[in-house]
């Protein structure tokens, strides 16, 4: 089998909704579970109400898809172990080891600048508190762009006049502007205001994954070497959102590297259904 397929698979798994649901279900069990249990939980997660016949059919399809495709794929990527004969899924030890070593070393490195970093250093990660300041920083980044601005929004700040102005100015300078949002109305509005920009619907579910983590509010990547990522955290007291920004500057900055790795396949390949998508297939059509 083509060795590059493994790498491609791991990248896909990082962004695939079904795969991440499988992994989080497995984590919740703290050990192992069988194919039937896993499939039942996933179907229950997908559909609130299903007739008995339809439930059986969905369950059967899911079991087949898990056994023939998802589980072997995840096992190959080292994310879980799958006993193909007894249909038992267990957590991968190697994954835990990997997470632990990541926690111990890289994570400390990643977090260190939060506490004692100096802005401007190549490996420093800056923190910006408050929504006004993160918006301002986003504009500054856009104004500095030479080649490319890539951004994703969860909210409607794209229609903010200052945002539109800096995006327009960038387009005028010959910068390629990409804007992604999950909201169809916002995409239409952005298309009206910025006809030269590339508007698309993010397939990445980490933008609005309904998990307990704070959700991502905005991602701005400029010239693939400056990054702003904002987190939206709901305040328990008054249900308002608090936005915090993380920034990284420089090609080898850890935040920039991380975001580039996650977005890489999308930056080069924005549309899965584009004409060139057939080139990426592992066999000839």
């Amino acid at each position: 089998m083509d060795p590059s397929r493994d790498e491609e698979d791991t990248k896909q798994i990082l962004s695939d909704e079904r795969d991440s649901a499988i992994l989080s279900t497995l984590r919740d069990t703290e050990g192992s579970l069988d194919l039937q249990c896993l499939a039942e939980r996933l179907v229950a997660h997908d559909h609130a109400i299903l007739g008995a016949t339809e439930f059986e059919e969905q369950l059967d399809r899911l079991r087949i898809s898990l056994h023939h495709d998802r589980l072997p794929r995840l096992a190959k990527a080292g994310l879980l172990e799958y006993d193909r004969v007894n249909h038992v899924i267990t957590e991968s030890n190697s994954l835990e080891d990997e997470m632990e070593s990541l926690n111990a070393e890289q994570f400390n490195d990643l977090l260190a600048p939060f506490f004692n970093g100096h802005e401007g250093e190549e490996d420093a990660i800056g923190v910006i508190d408050s929504r006004e300041n993160t918006l301002e920083y986003g504009h500054q980044l856009t104004e500095q762009a030479d080649e490319e601005v890539f951004c994703m929004f969860a909210g409607e700040e794209i229609l903010n006049t200052r945002c539109l102005a800096s995006a327009k100015a960038a387009i005028k300078r010959g910068v390629d502007v990409y804007i992604g949002t999950q909201d169809a109305e916002l995409r239409d509005a952005a298309r009206d205001h910025l006809p030269e920009a590339t508007i698309w619907e993010p397939q990445l579910d980490w933008l609005n994954n309904p998990m307990q983590y704070p959700t991502i509010g905005r991602v701005v990547v400029v010239d693939r070497e400056s990054v702003l990522v904002t987190l939206m955290e709901e305040s328990q007291a008054d249900e308002t959102y608090v936005e915090t920004g993380m920034t990284g500057v420089g090609e080898s900055n850890p935040l920039v590297v991380l975001v580039r790795e996650l977005l890489g396949p999308r930056l080069d390949h924005l549309d899965y259904q584009s004409e060139t998508f057939e080139d990426g297939l592992p066999f000839e059509l």
Binding site: R5, L71, L285
Partner: protein, 100 residues
Amino acid sequence: MPTRNESSSEHSAPSVTYERGDDEPYSIAVARAIAAYRNTTPLELDPLYDVVDLQSLDSIFENASESTRPSCSFTFSYDGYEVTVTDDAISVHETNGETT
């Protein structure tokens, strides 16, 4: 629900043609067709992942336009059988004397 037609074609090897249900994913129909041919259940078969990328198989057909889809056909070998996927059916028959 899809129906299963068993027929002995002009060739000596027996074959199974499995008619895919309207909303049945191609990958699911493939696993069920091979299971029907082998007279077993899809879960008793070795994962198809070893020989074919099912996600890509589904996306080929799903992304084909209405007009080109009927002419799409994809064939692969699995455990000594030849499996051919077309828009409305999956056929499975023995590979004639070939070993892989």
